[in-house]
Symmetry: C2
Subunit: 124 residues, 2 copies
């Protein structure tokens, strides 16, 4: 069970940042109308608002490098919390930015997960 | 609703780090048998294991300074996720350590919250 949670967390994180770095509009597949994103303190809700925010960030290309992924089961109904730390390389910046991000993944009736809670912060 | 979630999150964070910095054994009141803590990658479960880990950390006194607290409702059943960034000053260390921590708070039948999920990472 514990290993399964860890592999789901890691697989989700790989998928999430792969889409973020290569095909941001496709991230709409990760969210649902109840999804929430708090990005550097700004609160957004719902697929459209969240994906608009992510696609309109003031850089076109970026590369996430993941340092740690910690996952835990979040409820008896199959939710998972995932906590990520890593760095973000932006075009034209010499130094990567450190960040932390948490996700609360909620199961869908189809046996997949969607992002119910998403909180992102840069670490200064 | 949103303001209420924010104030619960902030009140919890104040309470949590006040106990951590002043009375670590009393943190047993925050956890229940189903609680999980992942501390720098080490997984613990249950009140006793979690509080033993926290009280046996290799420093007696410390001081948390909170930079950001972001909270979101985590489910229709009243859970809340809280994401914290800040710094940790240890005795004898010149420089504070940056950290991030997330909590998933779950409601009790008595109308309080306990920590169901707790993940802590230092940010290097």
């Amino acid at each position: 069970m514990e290993e399964q949670i860890d592999s789901v967390g890691k697989a989700f994180v790989d998928h999430y940042y792969h889409l973020f770095d290569n095909d941001r509009p496709a991230m709409s597949s990760l969210y649902q109308p109840t999804s929430m994103l708090t990005f550097e303190g700004q609160k957004l809700q719902g697929v459209e608002d969240i994906v608009t925010k992510l696609t309109q960030l003031p850089f076109d290309q970026c590369r996430h490098v993941i340092s740690t992924v910690d996952s835990q089961p979040a409820s008896v109904t199959g939710g998972i919390v995932v906590f990520v730390s890593g760095s973000l390389q932006l075009p034209g910046e010499n130094h990567p930015l450190q960040f932390s991000q948490m996700f609360h993944l909620s199961p869908t009736p189809q046996g997949n997960f969607f992002v119910l809670n998403d909180i992102f912060r840069l670490n200064y």
